[in-house]
Structures are given as C-alpha cells and as structure tokens.
Amino acid sequence: METGQLVQQLVKHEGASDGSVLRSNVGRISITREASQSFFSTLKNDFGFDHCSLISAVDNQTAFELVYHFSIVDATGQMLEVHIDLPRDTPTVDSITHLWGGADWHEREAYDLMGIYFIGHPDLKRVLLPDGFAGHPLRKDYVYEIHEEEW
C-alpha cells in the first residue's frame, strides 16, 4: 500500500487528524489519547505494523507530546509516525505493551526520564536512573545543580 493511501485510510479513524506524508515510505498522523488504544490495535492487526521502533516523549512546555515510530518488517520499510498530545497536569496514556512487547522498556524510559505514566504497563519503574531518584530530568523545568556556562 502506498503511504498516501495508508494515511488517508488511517485518518478516517475516530480521533485521528493531521495525516501527511513525510517521505515516500513514512507517514505521519496525530491521534487523541482517548482513541489511541483502538487506533493502535487497528494499526497492528489490520495494517500489519508489527514492529514498534521507538517511543519518544517531548516536553513542549505547555504540554507533553508522545511520538511513536512504527514500522513493518519487510522490504518496503514502511513506517508511520504517530503523535499524541498529553496535558501537562495529567501525562497519562494507555500502555501498548500487550500489542508490541518491544514497547516495554521504551515506555519505562519515557516514564523514567520524562514522567509519562502508562496505564496498564506490567512493571512501570525506572530503567536508567536508580530507584529513589527525584524528578524526571529530561523535562524542561528540571533544575540541575550545575553551572550554566555558555559553550
């Protein structure tokens, strides 16, 4: 399926918007967090996206943004970038570990470094920083105890 067609079909899903084509084999789409669970099930079961490449959390100061990169493991190298906006005071979203086992530690990392809570994750705890570490250091409002020097 061509990326343009793929995005056109996906954007019809409830809660989906902003469909566009980034590269010949990469599509982009936004989804509300309420509709994310059924959207991701469709993505995996009906469109064959069998590999979760990466989950990135971005701190946009007014809100958080989750960026998912999904791909199909075949010679087409088809990819889809999915964006979800999360309000700053309640950064929670449904976990996708039951669909893609590889998402497990990506979600733990997003929790660890950015403080995003994944509902339904089997073992949501810190993965890179030690237990008992205070705060989430990749947030823009995290205060470092270092000298701010101009490089």
Partner: protein, 364 residues
C-alpha cells in the same frame, strides 16, 4: 529445590560492560531473569540539548566504542534530514565504505569477546588481532583509532587518501583467509557446537514482537535489512541481498547468531569493494550546512547491532530542542528474560554474549 536470586553483575566476566543480570534459579535451571541497566547512563540526550548540532558528533561517537562510526553517521543523517542538506555523492560512497569497515571491526570485536565467554581464550586474541587491521584502516582517513568523529553533517571530514583502496584490499584478503580458518576451527569444534546449538532459541515472530533487530533478527531467518528496506547513502546503488541464517530447529539460536555475523563480515567486505570501485570524484562536504534548524526529523540506519533511530526536534535555535536515540540493544536486552528461561545458568554467557551487547549505546 528452593528457588533463589543470583546477581550476575555489575562486575562479572559475562557482562561486557557495566550492567547487572539478576537471575532466579531452581537448582541450575533459570526460572526468571531481570536485566538492570543504568550504570553507564550519561544522559547523552540531555547533554545534546545544550550543545550545537555539529558539536554532538563527539557525543555520538561515544555511544558505542565498538561501532562509533555508525552512530555518528545515524545522527548526521537525521540532522541532514532536519536541515534539508544532502551529502555529495563521493561523501556518500566514502560513508558506505567506512561504515562497512566499521561493521567488520565491530563484528570482530564481538567474535573476540564471545569466544572467551565460551572458554576459548585464544579466540579473543584472534578477534582482536584482526580487528586491529581494520582500526588501522579507519585511522587513515579519520586520524582516530576508536572514536573517529569522521562523518559530519553534510558529508565527511576529509577525503580518502590515495592508496586507500590497495590497503583496504590487502587487509580484506587477509581477513578472508583467516575467517576460513576460524570457520573450520569453530564450526567443527564439538565443544563450541555443544555450547551453541539449540541454546537461547527464539522464533522469528517473537523476535519481531519483542523489537529485536539487526543480526539477531536475521539469524532467525527474517531477511530484513535497513540498508535495503530504508536505504541511505550509496546502498541503493550497490548490489546486495540481506543474508540470513536459521537454527537447525527453526528460529534463532546461539550458533545461527554466530554464523550470521561471520556471513555479514563476508557481505561487508563485498560492499566495501563495490563502494570503493564505484566511487565517483568530487567534493566530500556539502556547500553550506546551516547552523540552525526547526521542525522535526528522524532517520534510521542499520547499525552493527540492529536498528538505530535518531529523532530530532529543532526550535529554530542552533541546538536540538529534543534528541531521542533508539538503541537496538536496549530493546534486545529487555527481551532477554524470554529466551533465558529454561536454560542452565552456564548458558547465560553464551546467550547474552551471542547478542553482542554494547552498554554504551544501551545506557545512552
């Protein structure tokens, strides 16, 4: 028998870097495993947000000391995508050649680390001796032995000097001769086969679901190679097919992962020859590379260990607003408990060693 937890790490001959594997054993049989990371976490992503785009290539080199070139290259591809820069054709061919040389060096490092895991100390010396030839080769254009800082946003640092092809050819012929010896030595060694055959088995569909990529996925018979599927640089113009291996009983085991990397070294040598032969003349840096960037972009590459992906968000300033790195081993290690269960404690070094761990990229 009562079950108990045992810590293998953070200081353990099996770990190859600083990490901890907690295993739950019933007698000698593993019933559960929990990998623990973070001992080498340097927060590369956050440091990168405080430095200018072109400065970050020194950081990306340090993501993996065994495969510095491929990581810097992945960052530069993502930054080029963000800035709308395209490297000139000659630079793309040079990148392809040095990336494949780096892949061979990385796989030799793996071979040299894996064999002592199985008790074959001589294998370490063989692997390291041969890797040194490739480090010398990569030192010629870059000036660095392990951390090259050679690939730049918009091209490469400097051109290959005259005579590089001949030197590379001589080194590759030596390696080809020696790989034949090693294959005879290891493939026919009863002890080596007993430690490898049917150990650490996972199926292709499980591997895809767990996010395992690269040689560890291809060793389960999945012909998925990002050099072909999501091609970059000069790879579309080279003639190659993904190599795969399968375990005797289907899926991937330690032996098919060993075979996979040996086969990939042969393939890489072929790719280096093709890239050097087809290399066009011309500049090696783009005319102008902007300092500032806005928007978002990502690129993924076939790293020596699997799928590397870098996602960059720019806010119009000269530093990345957000920089996210996908490390292939981070995901692969997270899946390790699935295929450690049921094997003996003595199989742990073989199983974890056959995955080609690199803690620098895993902990970021």
């Amino acid at each position: 028998m009562a079950e108990m937890w045992i810590h293998m790490g953070p200081q353990h001959p099996m770990t190859h870097g600083l990490w901890n594997l907690r295993i739950k054993v019933n007698g000698e049989t593993i019933t559960d495993a929990v990998p623990e990371l973070g001992y080498l976490h340097r927060s590369v992503e956050k440091i990168g947000e405080r430095r200018k785009y072109f400065m970050n290539t020194t950081l990306t080199d340090r993501l993996c000391y065994a495969s510095a070139m491929t990581w810097t290259h992945c960052y530069c591809l993502a930054a080029e995508e963000l800035m709308g820069v395209v490297a000139p054709p000659r630079a793309q061919y040079i990148r392809t050649a040095v990336l494949e040389l780096q892949r061979i060096a990385s796989h030799l490092m793996w071979l040299g680390a894996y064999l002592p895991d199985l008790g074959l100390i001589t294998g370490f010396l063989y692997g390291m001796r041969d890797r040194e030839m490739f480090l010398n080769l990569l030192e010629i254009p870059s000036g660095g032995r392990l951390l090259y800082n050679y690939v730049k946003i918009g091209g490469v640092k400097r051109d290959l000097p005259p005579g590089f092809e001949a030197k590379a050819e001589r080194v590759m012929q030596t390696l080809e001769r020696r790989l034949k010896e090693y294959e005879n030595l290891y493939d026919n060694s009863k002890i080596f086969r007993m430690r490898n055959d049917g150990v650490g088995v996972y199926s292709a569909s499980d591997a895809i679901n767990w996010g395992i990529t690269g040689p560890n996925l291809r060793s389960a018979g999945v012909p998925f190679d990002l050099r072909q599927a999501d091609s970059y640089d000069a790879y579309p113009e080279l003639d190659f097919e993904p190599v795969t291996n399968t375990a005797a009983g289907g899926g991937s085991d330690c032996f098919s992962r060993y075979r996979q990397r040996i086969d990939e070294m042969h393939q890489s040598m072929d790719l280096v020859r093709q890239a050097l032969a087809k290399m066009p003349e011309g500049r090696v840096m783009a005319d102008s590379v902007p300092l500032r960037a806005s928007g978002e972009a990502f690129r993924r590459t076939e790293d020596s260990r699997g799928e590397a992906l870098m996602y960059l968000v720019g806010d119009g300033s000269d530093r990345p607003y957000r920089w996210k790195i996908r490390s292939p081993m981070f995901t692969t290690v997270s899946a390790a408990p699935h295929f450690l269960k049921g094997y003996k404690m003595a199989d742990v070094p073989a199983i974890m060693g056959s995955l080609d761990m690199c803690i620098g990229e895993t902990d970021k």
